[in-house]
């Protein structure tokens, strides 16, 4: 415990308190986490502020995965309902409120698509999505440095790796589904996912900001490593179990 001040400080019986003034607090200034906690007050202004602040992001994820406005709205509504119900389990150390909501919306959207459609994605949508995701940051008002670097790294991926990444990371397709869709061996699909993720991880781990523009020299081959047969020939089940959408789905170890 780094807690240094072990001495109990006497509670001041009187404080230099100059009287209570009432604030008209602009709710736009409340930080995200406090706003989430504030949902518990039952204040309608806070609840609507919460929805207004995050509805773009939540609906954006839902529409990207489902490509169906009606379904996306239902998912976005469910996302806010879950956030409202589970505000207590939000853990700031695991990521921002935006990331938390994004994860909830993403999991709900993938589950909804899986239960409705045999084919999760259409190729023309996939390419359009990649174009949107990798468009230059000038077009995005709020692109911070880390996401600009990530965006550039995605843009620098060979197209087939970018597609595999989007299919797995955004549409929630398994390697087997990607292999079937792209008409490639399973081992190739797995390699594309792994290689793409490895490059992006290197970007995030790189010391100092990575500027946009040409990607840093990378030993990534322009063509893929030779296929090797997957260690387990048993095909994955088409619907991998997903954990509770209100908890971070990934690498959950706590």
């Amino acid at each position: 415990m780094v807690f240094r001040n072990r001495q109990a400080i006497p509670w001041p019986g009187r404080t230099v308190y100059k009287g209570m003034q009432r604030l008209q607090l602009p709710v736009g200034r409340i930080p995200d986490e406090a706003l989430l906690a504030g949902l518990a007050t039952g204040d309608p202004e806070l609840a609507v502020t919460f929805v207004r602040r995050f509805q773009h992001t939540v609906f954006g994820v839902a529409i990207a995965v489902t490509r169906d406005a009606q379904l996306a709205e239902d998912i976005a509504q469910q996302t806010f309902e879950r956030a409202w119900r589970h505000a207590q389990v939000y853990d700031a150390r695991r990521g921002s409120v935006t990331t938390w909501l994004t994860t909830i919306a993403h999991n709900l959207a993938i589950d909804a698509v899986r239960s409705r459609r045999p084919e999760p994605v259409a190729p023309e949508d996939l390419d359009a999505l990649l174009d949107v995701v990798t468009e230059t940051p000038e077009q995005r008002a709020l692109a911070d440095e880390a996401s600009a670097a990530l965006r550039a790294a995605v843009a620098a991926l060979p197209r087939e790796q970018g597609r595999a990444l989007a299919m797995a990371g955004i549409y929630g397709m398994t390697a087997q589904q990607i292999a079937d869709w792209e008409n490639i061996p399973l081992g190739t699909a797995k390699t594309r996912i792994r290689t793409a993720m490895g490059k992006l991880r290197a970007t995030l781990a790189a010391p100092g900001p990575t500027r946009t523009g040409p990607a840093r020299p990378d030993h990534a081959p322009d063509h893929e490593p030779p296929d090797h047969p997957p260690p387990d020939p048993a095909a994955p089940t088409p619907d991998p179990p997903r954990p509770d959408p209100t908890s971070p789905k990934r690498g959950g170890h706590d």
Binding site: G38, P44, V51, R52, I170, T174
Partner: protein, 253 residues
């Protein structure tokens, strides 16, 4: 039966695991490895951040018109379903009294918070539609809500180490609520453990609001406050042994 993977084998499927698209035996083998390998856990955490970052690149999209109102209705229905007995008794002072009575009987702070969500949710349901349906106002305000910076109880440290809000309760007459986000790490306080939250009143007395758990100086928490918030001048957070962690003073500006 699952096979014991080597670290190298884990890294073959780690990206799929981190993206949530690994299934069946492969998933079981990978998670079994992570249970006993901290290094690979760290690796998967990094890949999971990449996955989160990828979702963060998706463009925001304006939802269809009326979305807020429909979310509000949904929250209202969910709250009504949960607090069905409250709704059935109808609106009025009796409900307020009974809710407060229930709250006072709950000892655990966690239970109080959970109840606050439930009962507060009902209020949200009723009132939120009016707010959402009304014209959008650029600068919304909550009347009579107090805000203060938390300051870490470290000599010489004056930086804000979190924020605290005291909400008078909605609708008027219902219990208020104090909520806060605390980040004491920058003040050098990386305390983990039980935290006691005391409300300080302008007459010098204190009221214990509740307890919560902090990890590494980080926490966010809220609880209903049955005291009249207009008499509250500040808040004090202490460790379980009574030593001070942080203080806040409400003062108008």
């Amino acid at each position: 039966m699952t096979r014991n993977l080597t670290c190298e084998e884990l890294r073959d499927t780690g990206a799929e695991l981190a993206l949530g698209v690994l299934a069946g035996r492969e998933r079981a083998e990978a998670t079994a490895h992570l249970d006993r390998c901290a290094e690979c856990r760290e690796y998967i955490e990094q890949l999971a951040l990449v996955g989160d970052g990828l979702l963060g690149l998706l463009p925001g999209t304006e939802p269809p018109a009326g979305f807020e109102t429909r979310v509000a209705r949904r929250l209202s229905q969910a709250a009504a379903a949960r607090d069905g007995h409250v709704v059935a008794r109808g609106v009025g002072k009796r409900r307020e009294r009974s809710r407060r009575g229930i709250r006072l009987r709950i000892a655990s702070a966690a239970a109080v918070l959970a109840l606050g969500l439930g009962a507060g949710g009902w209020a949200v349901g009723m009132a939120i539609e009016n707010v959402a349906a009304g014209p959008a106002r650029p600068a919304q305000t909550v009347p009579n809500m107090l805000r203060a910076d938390l300051t870490g109880a470290v000599a010489g440290h004056r930086e804000a180490a979190g924020e605290i809000y005291a909400h008078p309760g909605s609708p008027p007459g219902s219990p208020g609520l104090v909520f806060m986000s605390v980040d004491l790490a920058d003040a050098g306080i990386k305390y983990s453990g039980k935290v006691i939250c005391l409300l300080q009143r302008s007459n010098g007395t204190t009221v214990r609001l509740g307890t919560f758990h902090m990890r590494g100086g980080d926490a966010y928490w809220g609880a209903p406050a049955s005291v009249n918030l207009s008499t509250v001048s500040g808040v004090r957070l202490t460790a379980a042994d009574g030593s001070a962690l942080a203080t806040a003073h409400f003062s108008g500006r």
